[in-house]
């Protein structure tokens, strides 16, 4: 920006004025509590270990206590140093984050390429009133910039201003109007988690232990101690799901879908429209009685190079952890339009190849999308936009060859979802293999055109950036 941008100075808290100063090009540090929050989990674990070891094995073990203490001090010092050398500022339309003492890194994030800014607040961060900003850039693999942590007010101000700048406005606009599409009730989420695989295992184990306590109390203790670690891990993974999807609310806004969720760690993230590679609907057997389903989106993720952000690598995001088919249809319609209506099923002889899942096997493809359904116990439906297809494969196994059947695979850049039109008639499959690449290309061209129009619209509004 050629003009330094000048929000009103009246009625600002110190945190807000810090954010504004950073926006005007002054170096700013992160929140002083950052090292504490970052080291939080590790320190808590070590302190817990210390207390346990102090409580149990005992007497004259001073040296080991000193070692533990030294570890804590070193971790804390490292955190403080990291905090001291990490600075950020906005200059010339670029957000710059410098960090590192020995190995200095300086990251630059051009504001006009910002695609979304997510806010994440882990439990400790909420206690201290701080938040992490995650800045995602357009194009390529979507490298994320992190500002961890800023005080809540600072984070909110900065987020609003950065987004405004990225859209070429100098004033922070009020957040775009958004329309809430679905919310998930905690009770239903809880029930659904109890009804999934790991939940059922845990329940069975608890019931088994209860029976054992009555029948053979003598081996009860042994059984508990043997299975405790596994059960604990199961419970933690279930809790993590509950925590992550708690009160998930999906709303539709101009810049994509907004997802807000979290019990202890809360997060607010945005999924821009062009980034969705595929959508998957999963209906586990135990949920079907209630008419529930789960909707996941797969966004582009680069093959990990080196260390990667934990949340980045988690490619498939639940758009709807549990919900009715009507809710799923609503979400689907808000993301993809022009989905194929009619489905076709494989020829009856495919029953010999896939006796169990034959009943649900179906698929369809039109000019823009392919949809496939498969699975007997866990029914899975995949929607893949042809514009996102990376390659098309025809696969024919030995049994399929006897029956004159072939499967068509559509590969996308997403991690987990890839559509398979299973066990189609061979002539149909061969024809599809012939036509699909052209259809993908056309779909891709249409989308590129759309994106270019959008981009020129942005630069027209904002010639400076």
């Amino acid at each position: 920006m050629s003009e330094p941008h000048n929000p009103e100075r009246t009625g600002q808290s110190p945190a807000e004025s810090r954010a504004v100063a950073g926006l005007q090009g002054d170096w700013q540090r992160l929140h002083p509590f950052s090292p504490l929050v970052r080291a939080g989990r590790g320190v808590i674990a070590i302190v817990a270990l210390l207390l346990i070891s102090a409580g149990t094995s005992r007497r004259g073990n001073l040296s080991s206590d000193l070692v533990h203490l030294a570890i804590i001090v070193v971790i804390f010092l490292l955190g403080v140093i990291t905090w001291l050398v990490t600075r950020w500022r906005v200059e010339g339309g670029v957000l710059r984050v410098d960090s590192g003492l020995l190995r200095r890194t300086s990251e630059r994030f051009p504001l006009n390429q910002i695609q979304a800014i997510d806010t994440v607040r882990p439990g400790l961060a909420r206690i201290f009133g701080v938040a992490e900003l995650r800045i995602r850039l357009a194009g390529g693999g979507g490298k994320a910039g992190r500002l961890a942590y800023l005080s809540n007010a600072e984070a909110e101000t900065l987020r609003a201003h950065l987004l405004a700048l990225s859209h070429g406005e100098t004033e922070a606009a009020p957040p775009a109007p958004e329309q809430v599409l679905v919310t998930v009730e905690p009770a239903r989420l809880f029930a659904s988690i109890l009804l999934t695989g790991s939940g059922l295992v845990l329940e069975l184990a608890v019931v088994a232990l209860a029976i054992l306590a009555v029948v053979a109390p003598a081996i009860e203790a042994a059984a508990i101690s043997a299975g405790a670690a596994g059960l604990f891990a199961l419970a933690i993974s279930m809790f993590r799901r509950f925590n992550g999807d708690y009160r998930l609310a999906v709303s539709d806004a101009a810049d994509g879908l907004h997802l807000r969720s979290g019990l202890i760690e809360t997060s607010a993230e945005t999924i821009p429209p062009g980034r969705i590679q595929a959508i998957r609907m999963v209906e586990p057997l135990a949920w079907r009685a209630f008419g529930w389903c789960r909707l996941e989106v797969d966004v582009a993720s680069q093959k990990s190079k080196g260390r990667q952000d934990r949340n980045q690598s988690k490619a498939a995001r639940a758009l709807l952890p549990v919900g009715s088919h009507a809710q799923a249809a609503l979400l689907l319609a808000s993301v993809f339009s022009g989905l194929p209506e009619e489905r076709s099923t494989p020829p009856p002889r495919a029953r010999w190849k896939s006796p169990l899942r034959f009943r649900y096997l179906s698929g369809a493809t039109n000019e823009r999308f392919t949809v496939t359904t498969s699975g007997r116990l866990r029914r899975v439906t995949d929607w893949v936009p042809l514009a996102k297809v990376q390659s098309v494969r025809l696969v024919e196994g030995p049994v399929q060859r006897r029956l004159r059947l072939s499967s068509i695979h559509l590969d996308t850049a997403g991690r987990r979802v890839h559509a398979v039109l299973r066990d189609r008639d061979r002539t149909e499959a061969t024809q599809l293999l012939d036509e699909l690449p052209d259809r993908c290309r056309n779909a891709r061209r249409a989308e590129d055109l759309l994106q270019r129009e959008r981009a020129t619209a942005t630069t027209a509004r904002n010639p400076d950036l």
Partner: protein
């Protein structure tokens, strides 16, 4: 073989070099030889002569059938460059035909292991953003591999598409 393929216009299928067949032949022979040595070694150590004969016969039969399978797999491999995509065919039991648009290419990788190098061969692999994409062509003569690499690179640049 053309039954499952895309019987496309006048596309001509290119095959890997015949030297790949010989390379696989040597690879199987080496493996069999090592297996025979191991079989003889262990059975002699145990002092069972009859077992030794049986083991050696089994290993040789297994080696011979592996050689036949390897030969068929080499013959099944074929590729063709169309106007806007690369077609790769492979597999005997599981036949696969992949269509990879040039525009989806992220990078081309040419590898040549020590054995391949000894035969003047190289493997060309085209990578897309999808991990499942399967565009590997083994056993190309070094010159053809270099040509294909350059060709794919320029076509990829010309047609480049984002994610």
């Amino acid at each position: 073989m053309s039954d499952a393929a895309v019987d496309d216009q006048e596309s001509i299928w290119n095959a890997p070099s015949p030297r790949l067949r010989r390379l696989r032949h040597y690879e199987v022979a080496t493996g069999t030889f090592v297996a025979v040595l191991v079989a003889v070694g262990t059975t002699v150590a145990l002092g069972a002569t009859l077992a030794m004969v049986i083991a050696v016969i089994c290993v040789i039969v297994a080696g011979a059938s592996a050689d036949v399978v390897a030969g068929r797999r080499v013959r099944a491999w074929a590729y063709t460059e169309r106007a806007e995509d690369l077609l790769v065919k492979r597999g005997v039991m599981f036949k696969r035909t992949s269509v990879i648009p040039y525009g989806r290419m992220q990078y081309v990788e040419v590898t040549a292991g020590p054995f391949e190098r000894a035969f003047g061969l190289a493997t060309v692999q085209m990578h897309t953003a999808a991990a499942a994409s399967d565009a590997r062509i083994p056993g190309l003569p070094a010159q053809e591999a270099a040509r294909l690499r350059d060709q794919l690179t320029s076509l990829g640049e010309a047609n480049a598409m984002g994610l």
